[in-house]
Assembly symmetry: D2
Homo-oligomer: 312 residues x 4
Amino acid sequence: MSSSEAMTTDWQSVIEEIAEEIKPLLDEGKVADYIPELGNVDKANFGMSISLIDGREFYCGQALKSFSIQSISKVFSLTKAFSFLKDDLWKRVGKEPSGNPFNSLIQLEHENGKPRNPFINAGAIVVADCVVSHTQDSLNEIIGYIRGLADNKNIQIDHAMFRSEKAFGHRNAALAHFMKSYGNIESDVDEVLDFYFGHCSLSMSCQDISRAFLFLANHGVHPRTNKRYLTASQAKRLNALLLTCGTYDAAGDFAFRVGMPGKSGVGGGIAAIIPGLLSVCVWSPGLDKHGNSLAGVKALELLTTKTGISIF
Amino acid sequence: MSSSEAMTTDWQSVIEEIAEEIKPLLDEGKVADYIPELGNVDKANFGMSISLIDGREFYCGQALKSFSIQSISKVFSLTKAFSFLKDDLWKRVGKEPSGNPFNSLIQLEHENGKPRNPFINAGAIVVADCVVSHTQDSLNEIIGYIRGLADNKNIQIDHAMFRSEKAFGHRNAALAHFMKSYGNIESDVDEVLDFYFGHCSLSMSCQDISRAFLFLANHGVHPRTNKRYLTASQAKRLNALLLTCGTYDAAGDFAFRVGMPGKSGVGGGIAAIIPGLLSVCVWSPGLDKHGNSLAGVKALELLTTKTGISIF
Amino acid sequence: MSSSEAMTTDWQSVIEEIAEEIKPLLDEGKVADYIPELGNVDKANFGMSISLIDGREFYCGQALKSFSIQSISKVFSLTKAFSFLKDDLWKRVGKEPSGNPFNSLIQLEHENGKPRNPFINAGAIVVADCVVSHTQDSLNEIIGYIRGLADNKNIQIDHAMFRSEKAFGHRNAALAHFMKSYGNIESDVDEVLDFYFGHCSLSMSCQDISRAFLFLANHGVHPRTNKRYLTASQAKRLNALLLTCGTYDAAGDFAFRVGMPGKSGVGGGIAAIIPGLLSVCVWSPGLDKHGNSLAGVKALELLTTKTGISIF
Amino acid sequence: MSSSEAMTTDWQSVIEEIAEEIKPLLDEGKVADYIPELGNVDKANFGMSISLIDGREFYCGQALKSFSIQSISKVFSLTKAFSFLKDDLWKRVGKEPSGNPFNSLIQLEHENGKPRNPFINAGAIVVADCVVSHTQDSLNEIIGYIRGLADNKNIQIDHAMFRSEKAFGHRNAALAHFMKSYGNIESDVDEVLDFYFGHCSLSMSCQDISRAFLFLANHGVHPRTNKRYLTASQAKRLNALLLTCGTYDAAGDFAFRVGMPGKSGVGGGIAAIIPGLLSVCVWSPGLDKHGNSLAGVKALELLTTKTGISIF
């Protein structure tokens, strides 16, 4: 899609068509239920928000309603850690697709406590440790950072979610202790997990998230604030990571069907970008077997089909 | 990079600069030596060829010298199989990065004989079986097909290479028998392996290969011949597969550093494309620990850095 | 059990009681059906034969009816290979329980082509290669060897079984090619597989097998013929291997419940021994989920419970 | 070995010969050093103690010196848990050799949080949870239990060891949290780990340990006190488990070379038994690559060679 085509696309009509077409799918997915706070969300929800780097915005459905961002938070903490550790970060976490479910300890054991990539849980816990070890009051600071990215001071932690994540987080605790045994966690395990579960428990809307991802579509500079978050090269590289690793062990299929760098969360949100053009966030709580929003993936596939946008 | 920038880039100077800059790396890699025919190639070789979809071509170094294409052949047989089986192909082979070395049987066992993707050896053997089971005289036919793609009637099999591949191909024979035990090989194992080793043993130059990949940069239609090889949607999807799975278990790092869909071979060649713009092939026989050309990856990284081209 | 107790046990009554008690189990197992020749056997069959080293013999049921010995053959080829290679054998095959199903390639890949033990298929194929590489006309020779052990010249290969094993043996072919790629198969793969499938396809009765195992209960010397097959130390060690590895990935449970060194086959036979006392063979074609005869394991458990014999 | 032979064996001479013969090996092993308290022990130590069920005892070297029992403790907690949970225990922990290093999470993940056997760390942590969940003041109670078995009221925890185990126990914490995530840990993780590390940190001498294991050689009844700890059937079965799983991933080799059910600890102790005859404990801190006492394994192998005792 050329820039001139992007100017003339009727984005509002496109997303409304999509919202109509995915309706039959809303009932098919399965809402995450490993903690009650996630399980209580209504599967009928669907929202979609597009932010163009030229400043225009389009949304439909429940795009202004907050939901649990879950793993989408990993992009924010990674951006922060990448911006201050630069390429030293990759000494502690890899850049390869995992080929295994997102919370697997197997690969971690084969590779001596260095997680495959920053988007599997183990990798995100290492990134969390990087942030915790380099900042004071790290949880409040990341919340401020995310509010800045989304240009919304009202973004809050869902504290019931936070408590449940901690109470049921034995597998993530196992990952953290396991990496600690290899020396790949510097701070105290409980402190790292608090940060990790904390920023996973933020509630944001589709609009918040599409706005917050816009810097990745604009070479690292947020067009709403002109603030630089990453260098152009770093932004390009983070996009590459999102494409190869951002959607759990379905990243290949997501690239095949959708063709956009993106990140999903078990709360049902998916954020994605087209470099040089736009960021988008879609939300629908019913998940497919890989843990990605079932209607959300379809909505993004329709977006690329209808408009011809794709990185490939 | 916009189209107008592509017009004004001095491609010849860029690739000559690159050829100069990678010189110190030529000695660092390790030439594949599992068969003598590969081990005898001089590490000092370096060639690079760029084919733009507007018809212009640029090359430097040993870009016209033939070398063993090895796994680059997998893209040609996959294109053929995808064009006639369409999405039925994915019932027999997956679309996900493997997370394991390219000839691993482990993942295959965990997933009941369905290979992760068409670029690991097991997947390419399934693709070979698809071609063998659907064509007469399949090896000669694929040679004709590749000659057509490269627009060069002189492309030949290196028969000494072919014999060696078969004589030392116990691991690929193991993969084929193993998948046969799961019912995922239809034709006779020896016939499939003959096709597989045969088209891996083709000799082509950088120029042949960059020309042959140009249809992937042009929505499935070869701009030199106007022949359609894949639909636009299929071409886009094959590019996505190349990005996530094309460079063995270093696909994440390749996307991170280079940011182009590409396919490497242990003969030292790497082909890559920028959709809508160009295809490129680089050759240097010294390999890194993942089996990709060490200087070749660097040359492609420099190409993207110097010109700003990237899909991200 | 002391020697004097063994003298006074009424073995005939014991095995007849057992034959009665296991009747309800005969219908529960599942006959192996990966080849038609195995699938056609009637589940109602049950036989049991005990050979004491003092020369007495007891049997009941179908103990004189021939069945396919399958993996029980691995003990015979191992005995032969161990007797001439001595401890050099363990350079090529390990002595540890596998912890994985008997035909797994996974462990083999992790351990560079050296099988865990001689009773998983990969290990038995290496043992077969040892025999093939050290004998002329190896299949006929091993048949003669087994006839000698069982003191029965009429033991024959079931040729329909043999042909089926070869026709459906893709997984074993995969194992052999895979180990060949690591250099752990010396002879031609097809020749090794012919030997392997050949001696697996022998038909023997419970009585043949209990007689053939008697040397393991008697420090390596067959009490019927006074022929030494192994040294006392080797016999002791082969018994240890049978205990830890002889019943696929159920060896722990078999030791726990039965407490005898033993070897099972998917034809439904199980041979076991009590050092210094006896060998026993039980046959019932219905298998449990581990591939061991369901009623057979129970019969041996009852034998130890009723008589108090156990190595523990 | 018959009972009459056991009566006439000059056990004292045998163990003194062994102590002499293993001297050259004392320097070859590697003392465990993951915590300082273990690393500080002198490799020159060697002790051996034999307890016969007829009441006689023999010892040599440092057999009365206390050392850290480490994993040998797992036999005591397992005996306790087995005695009150009976076969319900096996719903939570398996009975098969692991085929993997003793602290692996891989197998645990493949088998949904149910450890392979009670002697790998994960299995022992489940057993610890069983004890903790069924007793008050569980650590003091198990200490009393072990004092009773060894008939020695002075057995104590080494508190510096205990603190170090907890401080460096991240991998065991990972195992416990991981199994908790599968619902296979009932009590609080920290409480279970306290018990686990606590009884691992007991100091005992060879004599203490050989006495404490005597009930396993005597059908579950301790001959010194006539107290029954397990039924005859349970004792037999625990011996089978020791044989197939008691010496980490070298159980096959230990059975092959030594032929006795036994349990080793990284403190350098190994306890073993011959049913109906004796228990033995050997201690030497230098370990082989599997974590078993290098000179200790050799000493037990010599014991069986010199006296002819073996279960096979």
